[in-house]
Amino acid sequence: MYMQSIHLMQFMLLFSRQGKLRLQKWYVPLSDKERKKISRDLVQTILARKPKMCSFLEWRDLKIVYKRYASLYFCCAVEDQDNELITLEIIHRYVELLDKYFGSVCELDIIFNFEKAYFILDEFLLGGEAQETSKKNVLKAIEQADLLQEEAEAPRSVLEEIGLT
């Protein structure tokens, strides 16, 4: 009964050149064990590939799309029938968003503020589908939520008046 959407992204992984996982987002229900096995397998496979090789690879019945930015690998899994190029651009747009938000992003930003990276991802991709592709709108939403952080020190009554108005 559960209908599988054809263009749903299955998961996204960020890992370093040393093979350390920096971010993982799963859009399909998988057990912990499966998740670990998948990320281990993929990190190994991708790190073993040469720089000039195709950014796509077949893995089980999925298509893996990955790209390396400096010391970080971004890796997404999509259905075999999907358009790999657009997935590559989704990765790129995400990197752009991170870059804009952190101001010239580097791996350290993502390590120490990984929850922020997740927040940005959730504003951009929701449930495996592109939610908002306008860079401005994504960052606006994040910044407005971040405002709460600045005001968090203030008493609660003030907090409640803050809306998105």
């Binding site: 752009e96 390590i111 306008s134 939520a145």
Partner: protein
């Protein structure tokens, strides 16, 4: 971008010591997370890391459970727990605290709480239920950010059963003044649509409002839902085609706000989404497609900037153009575009080009020819994925002439491949090709041997199954059968004489079976020799006990005569005391049967192999035994799923209290009780568990075995048509040494200049790979000999065709043209016969000599040309050809009245409209379904719109949800020119779904040699499978308690007169063919079954103007699907 991100980890330790980090990032090196991260980086071994994290987790655990921890500290702890989980350490103790944080924290803490929940839990996790109330509260919050958070988490994961509780609140948000809220609400509804489509059915008109939203973001979000709905039911949304086209036009013209641009391309994601939608809408629909042509052309033209994103759009555009009703100009442009991909130096684009080629090559084989040089290069590409995709492409263009070369390439790849998934997939494909196009016995057996050795024990079990089935069923020619079996026996005997220990188990099983069945055919082969070879397998250490069973069975069949018995006795002694009971039984059988000759002849009759065995799948012969056991106090059998369920219920959280917030309160009658109240039969201990289990899913496995080629694919030698295929195959095989010399004078290869040695090798490979895809533009090197043989075949068929189908030919010019052909070809035949040197290796009938390749001839041109494309005919300026060209196929594409072809036995039954499914130049496929009392029959009509008879049509159907079995003797048909072939299939539901779909491929070989295939899919609602189930109220009560899957929902009853319940049930009875068991007061019980034998029970209760419906069934998902249809039926009324 990549130049912007240029800092690397190497600087990590020094950076950590600096407090002031550049940019907006506050490096929280003083925080606890910072300490943890720094601690980890300083470690040197995995072991140390493990110790550190365990310490960390212990401290987190202690703090989260302490009552003094504030929410603010909790937030910090959660972040650390997320970090530990990311490193691969389990922190499940923190899950519940994440939920608490989302519930009790301030907005800021809530944000982290929700994030932790969405990372920790997946959507089937039971703790998720605890989040429902929090979500409910936040959806009603006045703080917009809290609403956003709630919607974000809901769009990622939400328990399906709880959707009704929050649905009204989410719906409300569709009209919210803030676009971000509207957008998230749309995505939440999309999620609901995916997990429970019937729940959101009533808000379809609201989706339309979202589509018309003034904010482009909300509109884009709504397209996700539309894409899904249109994919499932394109017919329902045809009216929106023009709107989608208009939106795309505006996007392409740059009418959206600038911030939707991506690298100065306007809203690429939106464009791609729209192109996907248009492809579904325009598929097999000329009028809808026509609306799209302009914008598709515009998209192709606009996407000129050399950037990945434009290529992404182009790719989608090309796919769309090749999916919808074809327009030749557009196809040309799209083909050119594919060329740009394929020829690109960027590897990613090249890959996508190959993928696009794979997609379109079945419709337009010419394209593969254009790019043959590139394809050959890709075949040797160092990157495996490119190689792999190229093989996929070759797989699609395989025909009887190039099969040997392509299969060899695939096997070559397989031998070097290490990935199991790829092996399984490719091995299946090789087996499919081998079965379909095998040129001769030897090749077939040898190829299959390689498949079995390489495929090993991971391959799909249906490959050996269908191979054995094929051997045992045989073909029409007894002599050919014998030869094939003999060759198999010979080749397996020699394999066993080698090193059988290295062969995979599956292969050994195949070998044992074949030797057991057919070794007697080889008269000079001593039974004792076979027995010894088999016995050797038993002694091999690596042989699995399953294989040993096969071996013992084979020995039982073979053992004969004095020596045989003694070998058998020896083996029996060893295995009759085996710990494995199956082996012991086989050994016993062997022992008895080897000694009693008469008994053996009775049990294992030699010549009766093809007679189907009767299998009592209901196991009714055990009934006596069961009732005795029950009488003696044994517990009644419970099916596996039911046991599982009970086990799970005993352990799992109780779901019940959470049932209350849903608007189902009126239905909260004593829970697991029979709702009828009057029929609770408590003493069910002795009853058989449920009707459904009696043989429902226990049909013998053989039925499901894919009939990849049944009797047809390998019929090679029995008909003249196929014979010439055989000859053609020899062409490519020997081409390397032949073509350079006699066959390929430079004058005939205008497209290629003389080339150095390696290039020439490639050309030779090309000529053997792309043979039979016939076209003028192709290399003449390869095209010629094959085309000529085909011509002769055509000629041979010609007269037969025109006389036998005389009554069908309405246009006199058609028969005139085929006459003209005959004359032409006869002339050539008379003057141009050359002696054949290629064929002697194959066993051929004398007729072969007439199928020889002639040196040259206009006929060849004409015939190759014809099967490619009509318009290419005009390229050739030869008058004779124009005269010989058949009458324009004006009637193609028009709807034909197939109802006259509906088999007579269905005349009185209700059948659906006959809908056209797919068509190409020569074949139109349509289908309808007929509802019989105990089955559902799918009738497929194939209309041959060409002038030539199509000798073999192979129709394959497959479906995830259905079991398809062929009615009548064989799925293979012949379609005479301009006539209709009809196939029947009986369908039963394997896995219920709201709509079920059968996908099919019609593949056939045109007389001129190109193999063609037409893909189609046929969709029908589950309701077609529903039949009334007549049960008494008592039976209903018993069944109700047995069934474990259920769903409840409130529906709006129909009020015509005084009795809304009666009216509603009557409507359901009429529309869905349900059986109303009884109506008592405000309650009614209804029963139905889904073919075959999958019961579903319904209980409805009218209360306060609403109808509470409760459905139960032993089949998962069935209640949900039926609920959907009930809702539909009532709404439509």
């Amino acid at each position: 971008m990549s130049d912007v991100v240029e800092k690397t980890l190497t600087a990590l330790p020094s950076l950590l010591s600096l407090d002031s980090h550049s940019g907006s990032t506050k490096l929280s090196s003083s925080s606890k997370l910072g300490n943890l991260i720094r601690g980890i980086t300083e470690l040197t071994s995995k072991h140390e890391e493990e110790k550190l994290i365990q310490r960390e987790l212990a401290s987190i655990k202690e703090q989260v459970s302490s009552p003094n921890t504030s929410m603010r500290q909790m937030k910090e702890l959660m972040v650390r727990a997320i970090y530990c989980e990311m490193l691969g350490y389990e922190a499940s103790f923190s899950y519940i605290h994440a939920i608490k944080l989302a519930q009790q924290g301030t907005a800021l803490e809530k944000r982290v709480g929700y994030l932790a929940v969405s990372l920790f839990l997946n959507e089937s996790h039971e703790l998720l239920l605890l989040l429902v109330n929090t979500v409910l509260k936040d959806l009603q919050s006045t703080n917009l950010i809290e609403v956003c958070m709630a919607l974000t988490v809901v769009s990622q994961m939400f328990p399906k059963d709880m959707i009704p509780a929050i649905l009204p609140l989410v719906e409300e948000k569709l009209t919210h003044p803030k676009e971000i809220i509207r957008r998230k609400a749309v995505l939440a509804l999309y999620k609901f649509y995916l997990i429970a489509p019937n729940q959101v059915q009533h808000i379809h008109n609201k989706f339309r409002k979202a589509l018309c939203d003034k904010d482009p973001g909300v509109m884009t979000a709504s397209l996700h839902i539309y894409l899904q709905m249109i994919q499932e039911n394109p017919e329902g949304y045809k009216d929106l085609t023009a709107s989608f086209v208009t939106i795309l036009k505006q996007v392409v013209a740059g009418k959206l706000p600038m911030d939707f641009n991506y690298h100065s391309v306007p809203a690429p994601w939106l464009q791609i989404q729209l192109l996907r939608i248009l492809a579904f809408l325009g598929k097999n629909d000329q009028s809808s497609s026509e609306i799209m042509y302009d914008i598709l052309e515009e998209s192709l033209r606009r996407a000129e900037i050399n950037h990945n994103i434009t290529y992404a759009i182009l790719y989608e555009c090309v796919k769309c153009i090749y999916t919808i009703h074809p327009k030749s100009e557009l196809l040309e442009k799209a083909a050119k575009c594919i060329g740009n991909f394929v020829l690109s130096t960027k590897i990613n684009l090249k890959y996508l080009g190959l993928k696009a080629l794979t997609y379109v090559v079945q419709q337009d084989p010419k394209l593969a020819l254009q790019h043959q040089v590139t394809i050959i290069e890709c075949l040797d590409h160092p990157d495996l994925i490119i190689k792999r995709e190229t093989l996929e492409l070759l797989f699609r263009i395989t025909n009887a002439q190039n099969v040997a070369v392509i299969v060899e390439k695939m096997l070559e790849f397989l031998r070097g491949n290490k990935d199991d998934y790829t092996t399984i997939d490719l091995v299946g494909k090789v087996a499919e090709l081998a079965e379909k196009y095998a040129p001769n016995n030897e090749w077939f057996i040898e190829t299959m041997s390689t498949v079995f050795s390489v495929g090993g024990d991971t391959m799909q079990p249906d490959i050996p199954n269908s191979f054995l089935k094929l051997l045992s069923e045989g073909f029409d020619s007894v002599e050919e059968d014998r030869k094939l079996k003999l060759f198999a026996v010979d080749s397996y005997v020699s394999l066993l004489q080698g090193e059988p220990g290295k062969l995979p188990q599956r292969f050994l099983q195949v070998i044992s079976w074949v030797l057991g069945e057919y070794s007697y055919l080889r008269g000079e082969l001593d039974a004792a020799t076979v027995l010894r070879l088999l016995a050797k397998l038993l002694d091999t250490k690596s042989t699995s006990s399953e294989t040993k069973s096969w071996v013992l069975m084979a020995m039982t069949k073979v053992c004969e005569g004095g020596v045989g018995v003694s070998v058998a006795q020896e083996v029996c002694e060893t295995y009759s005391s085996s710990l494995d009971t199956a082996l012991r039984q086989r050994a016993q059988e062997l022992q008895h049967l080897s000694q009693d000759r008469d008994l053996r002849a009775k049990v294992l009759p030699r010549e009766a192999g093809s007679e189907p065995l009767e299998v009592d799948s209901s196991l009714s012969f055990l009934d006596g035994f069961v009732s005795e056991a029950l009488a003696a106090g044994a517990a009644p059998y419970k099916p596996h799923h039911q046991r599982q369920e009970e086990l799970a219920q005993a352990k799992a959280l109780s779901m019940e209290p959470y049932g209350l917030p849903i608007s189902m309160s009126s239905c909260s009658i004593a829970d697991r009780q029979s709702p009828t109240l009057l029929s609770v039969s408590s003493g069910l201990s002795g009853d058989s568990p449920s009707l459904s289990q009696k043989g429902g899913s226990t049909t013998p496995k053989l039925d499901g075995v894919k009939r990849v080629w049944g009797r047809q694919g390998y019929l090679v030698q029995t008909e003249p048509v196929e014979e010439s295929d055989l000859v053609e195959v020899t062409g490519p095989l020997q081409s390397p040494n032949q073509q350079a010399g006699a066959d390929g004078p430079p004058s005939q290869t205008p497209t290629l200049k003389p080339t150095p040695q390696p290039e020439q090798e490639k050309q030779q490979l090309a000529s053997s790979l792309f043979v039979g895809l016939g076209s003028q533009s192709s290399l003449c090197l390869m095209g010629k000999p094959e085309a000529t043989t085909q011509r002769f075949r055509r000629k041979a068929k010609g007269p037969v065709l025109s006389s036998s189908t005389g009554e069908q030919i309405s246009n006199s010019s058609v028969s005139a043209s085929s006459m003209a052909n005959n004359l032409l070809c006869n002339d050539l035949l008379d003057s141009n016969i050359t002696s054949e040197t290629a064929a002697p290796s194959l066993e051929q009938t004398p007729q072969l000599s007439r199928d020889l390749p002639a040196a040259n001839g206009a006929c060849a041109v004409e015939s190759t040309d014809r099967d490619v494309k009509e318009n290419s005919a005009s390229l050739i300026g030869d008058n004779r050809l124009v005269a010989a060209d058949p009458a324009p196929r004006g009637d193609r594409g028009k709807l034909k009245d197939f109802s006259a072809h509906l088999p007579a036995e269905f005349s009185g039954l209700c059948h659906s409209d006959i809908s056209p499914l797919a068509s190409n130049q020569s074949l139109d496929v349509s289908a309808c379904h007929v509802q019989k009392e105990d089955s559902l029959v799918l009738v497929v009509f194939m209309y041959n719109s060409s002038d030539d008879a199509i000798p073999h049509i192979l129709l394959e159907l497959r479906s995830d949800e259905l079991e398809v079995s062929c009615e009548g003797d064989s799925p293979v048909e012949e379609a005479r020119s301009r006539s209709v072939a009809v196939c029947q299939y009986s369908l039963t539901v394997k896995k219920p779904s709201v709509h079920v779909e059968v996908a099919g491929t019609v593949s056939y070989q045109l007389p001129v040699g190109t193999s063609q295939s037409v893909q189609f899919s046929y969709k029908l609602p589950l309701t077609s499978f529903i039949r009334p189930l007549t049960v008494s109220t008592e039976e209903y009560g018993t069944m109700w308690l047995d069934f474990s899957h259920d769903t409840k929902q409130k529906l709006t009853p129909i009020c015509l007169g005084q009795e809304p319940l009666m009216d509603t049930l009557n409507v359901l009875k009429k529309k869905l063919k349900l059986h109303v068991v009884e109506i008592i007061g405000m309650e009614g019980i209804v029963a139905c079954r889904v073919l075959r034998d999958q019961p579903c029970l319904m209980h409805c209760r009218l209360h306060a103007g609403a109808l509470s419906v409760w459905l139960r069934s032993p089949v998962p998902d069935l209640p949900d699907c039926l609920m959907y249809h009930c809702q539909r039926a009532l709404q439509e009324h």
